[in-house]
């Protein structure tokens, strides 16, 4: 009888998850040529000589590392600030969450309008302060485009980091702090030896989730720059999308997806090992 009840779930899992996975492994091993389909690792070896892929990979890492660092430091700072009893704490906490509630596409459109070099709000505001905005073309400048898309991600996702870390802070009991106070530790020592170690589970969760999201970022960049100008903000997800749905090369796109999956797994494993190992000591 239990098998009967499980059957629908198993059928759905097979149909929606296992089958596509096996299918994508199969097509990643196929290459379409004029002579027909050939099998092998051709798609994977092609990755190594594809400048677009390698550049997109580098962009993805720059994007992920820069955005993660900013989001984590800002989020931690905000969480520490708003964990104290300050006036209007509720208002701050609520308003900080707004960016996170917006769909990424909406965020992309809003910022695209604000960053418009000719008609946008940001340059218009800077002009009011007498700043020459002639060279500040934001998403249109190869130098500033990456900075712009990272800034938008930080704007949208710092609240998430803040929220998780704040929850973590509030779960820390008072006793270790009292003990530290009695032992005469400074504020910095308390933070370093009490708060941070006890916050580790939350830090691990937030780093894991953000890294996975950052490595596969697609929507905001697609709306903001479509990977441009030139190739300046093209990330792997955008390139995979283009390869699959514009060039119709599903095999190559599947191969790239598996590389991204492998990289994400490796990085996640490192996090877990690093942060959990110390916790058990």
């Amino acid at each position: 009888m239990p098998a009967l009840f499980l059957a629908p779930a198993i059928a759905v899992l097979l149909a929606l998850s296992i089958y596509p996975l096996i299918y994508s492994i199969t097509i990643s091993l196929q290459q379409e040529t004029a002579a027909g389909v050939t099998w092998g690792l051709g798609n994977f070896t092609r990755l190594l000589s594809d400048n677009f892929f390698l550049t997109a990979l580098a962009h993805t890492f720059v994007y992920a590392v820069a955005a993660l660092t900013c989001e984590f430091l800002l989020g931690l700072g905000l969480a520490l600030l708003l964990n104290k009893q300050i006036r209007g704490r509720g208002v701050f906490r609520a308003s900080l969450l707004i960016p996170m509630m917006l769909p990424a596409v909406v965020v992309g459109v809003i910022w695209r309008l604000m960053l418009n070099p000719n008609f946008g709000a940001i340059n218009e505001t800077l002009k009011q302060f007498g700043i020459n905005t002639g060279s500040l073309t934001w998403t249109a400048s190869p130098k500033l485009a990456m900075l712009s898309v990272i800034a938008v991600d930080v704007w949208q996702w710092t609240p998430f980091v803040f929220l998780v870390l704040l929850a973590g802070l509030q779960a820390i009991p008072q006793e270790p702090y009292e003990a530290a106070l009695i032992d005469g530790s400074s504020r910095w020592q308390t933070f370093w030896h009490v708060t941070l170690p006890l916050l580790k589970p939350s830090i691990l969760i937030v780093l894991l989730l953000r890294t996975m999201d950052l490595l596969r970022v697609f929507d905001q960049i697609f709306i903001l720059t479509e990977g441009g100008p030139g190739f300046a903000t093209e990330t792997i997800s955008l390139y995979i999308y283009r390869t699959a749905f514009r060039f119709f090369d599903f095999g190559y796109a599947a191969a790239m997806s598996f590389v991204l999956l492998a990289l994400t797994n490796v990085i996640s494993a490192i996090y877990i090992k690093f942060l959990q190992a110390k916790e058990t000591i």
Binding site: L4, P142, G228, P229, A232, R242
Partner: protein
């Protein structure tokens, strides 16, 4: 043993419920039509409603935004689902569809109706797009919307500074310089830029560049089909594009058609290449600050005479359509002079000569004579099934050269190498 029986039973129940839902309503006489959202698809949707009233044949419409239409159609056609009886295609996609052999050859269907070939009223350059190979091969579609690029310029500013209408790219550059230097108190109290280019990677940069590229005597492929964008003419054309970019608004490296339109409508730029769909907005009081000030003409000349890029919407019948005959009836009806005139009145340029010369239409759309000249002398984007990939690579390097990341020569050499790689993979 019992467990397996249950499992099989559960799967069977699931499967039958899928098949039952998917095969209802097949016996009714109906057609399914995939259209693009926007003005082009809108006209065809309204035509479908009229057709339904006249004939009683029900037409289902599947509408997709431009960015998704290509993938939806090609995935469906390659999966042989027979979901669509008629599809709208942007002409650069056509070689891919024809190459994949997923379209119906229309000639036998025409012969059944006693016609030896398509109507000779269709503009030759439009009809040539519907054949595979280009111009000479079998007919797999009919042209529905006859867009080709036009040159837009501010005739008031040209008159103000006593300049003749721009006939060559040198005229354009000189005029851009004059206007930008003298017109410093424009419509918004600010600068009027001499020209507005769009150089966002991909379609935007390539579409804006091709008329210059061709006018400079460059070709994307040489006589042997090898890529040749880094020819001296090709590099000179890119150098010219960048020079013209100095008179374009800041950030043009990321501009798309909507940015170009916005600058022209706001009166902050004086010239550009653009598509006819924008013409009507210039006389719209709620959008335009330049009512009655714009003029539309054919593309400027270089060493070679100016040629616009053609960009037509075609309608084709998928090979797996179960109602090809009924679909052909609708296709001939929708592309007939009478129905296409209705589409033209709804804002879509026709693909028939007679309609470009129709007095009622010319009165409503004064740019029609220029549009016909542009269309008849237009060129298609290179006909290759790998155009999407080539355009993407070419556009990236054009954009990089415009943003100053690469010199024109480096950009063209790298673009050439990438295009060569794409073609090699295809072999």
């Amino acid at each position: 043993m019992r467990v397996t029986v249950y499992l099989v039973l559960a799967l069977l129940v699931l499967l039958t419920s899928f098949t039952l839902t998917s095969c209802t309503g097949n016996h009714r006489k109906q057609l399914t039509l995939a259209v693009v959202s926007g003005v082009e698809g809108e006209a065809l949707k309204q035509a479908a409603t009229d057709y339904e009233k006249q004939t009683g044949i029900h037409i289902d419409i599947a509408e997709f935004p431009y960015t998704n239409l290509f993938e939806k159609e090609l995935i469906d056609l390659k999966a042989h689902t027979g979901a669509y009886d008629l599809i709208m295609l942007d002409d650069p996609w056509f070689p891919r569809f024809a190459h994949e052999q997923v379209l119906t050859d229309l000639t036998p269907l025409l012969k059944n109706r006693g016609q030896s070939g398509p109507d000779s009223d269709f503009v030759a350059t439009s009809l040539a797009l519907c054949r595979h190979p280009y111009q000479t091969g079998s007919l797999y579609a009919l042209p529905y919307v006859g867009n080709s690029q036009l040159f837009f310029y501010r005739k008031d500013l040209f008159e103000k500074y006593l300049m003749k209408a721009p006939l060559t790219w040198d005229d354009v550059l000189a005029a851009a310089k004059t206007i930008q230097e003298k017109e410093t108190a424009g419509a918004n109290g600010g600068q009027v830029y001499g020209y507005v280019e769009r150089a966002a990677q991909g379609n935007a940069a390539v579409a804006d560049f091709m008329p210059i590229f061709w006018a400079f005597g460059a070709e994307m492929f040489d006589a042997n089909g090898k890529p040749a964008v880094n020819s001296p003419q090709g590099i000179a054309a890119l150098e010219f594009m960048i020079q013209l970019g100095k008179y374009s608004p800041p950030g043009y490296v990321s501009f798309n058609a909507d940015d170009v339109g916005a600058h022209l409508l706001q009166g902050t730029a004086a010239m550009s290449i653009n598509w006819p769909a924008w013409i009507s907005s210039f006389s719209d009081q709620s959008k335009s600050k330049v009512i009655g000030k714009m003029e539309f003409t054919t593309l400027p000349d270089g060493q070679k005479s100016g040629q616009a890029e053609i960009g037509n919407w075609l309608i084709a019948i998928p090979r797996e359509s179960r109602n090809a005959d009924a679909a052909m009836d609708f296709l001939l009806w929708a592309t007939s002079a009478e129905q296409m005139k209705r589409s033209a009145l709804r804002g879509n340029p026709p693909t028939r000569k007679s309609l470009f010369q129709d007095p009622e239409l010319v009165a409503k759309f004064p740019a029609y004579p220029a549009q016909l000249r542009s269309l008849e002398s237009s060129r298609p984007r290179p006909r290759t099934p790998y155009w999407n990939e080539i355009e993407n690579a070419f556009g990236i390097f054009l954009s990089k050269a415009n943003s100053g990341d690469l010199t024109p020569e480096e950009a063209m050499n790298q673009a050439n190498a990438e295009i060569e790689k794409i073609l090699q993979r295809a072999q």
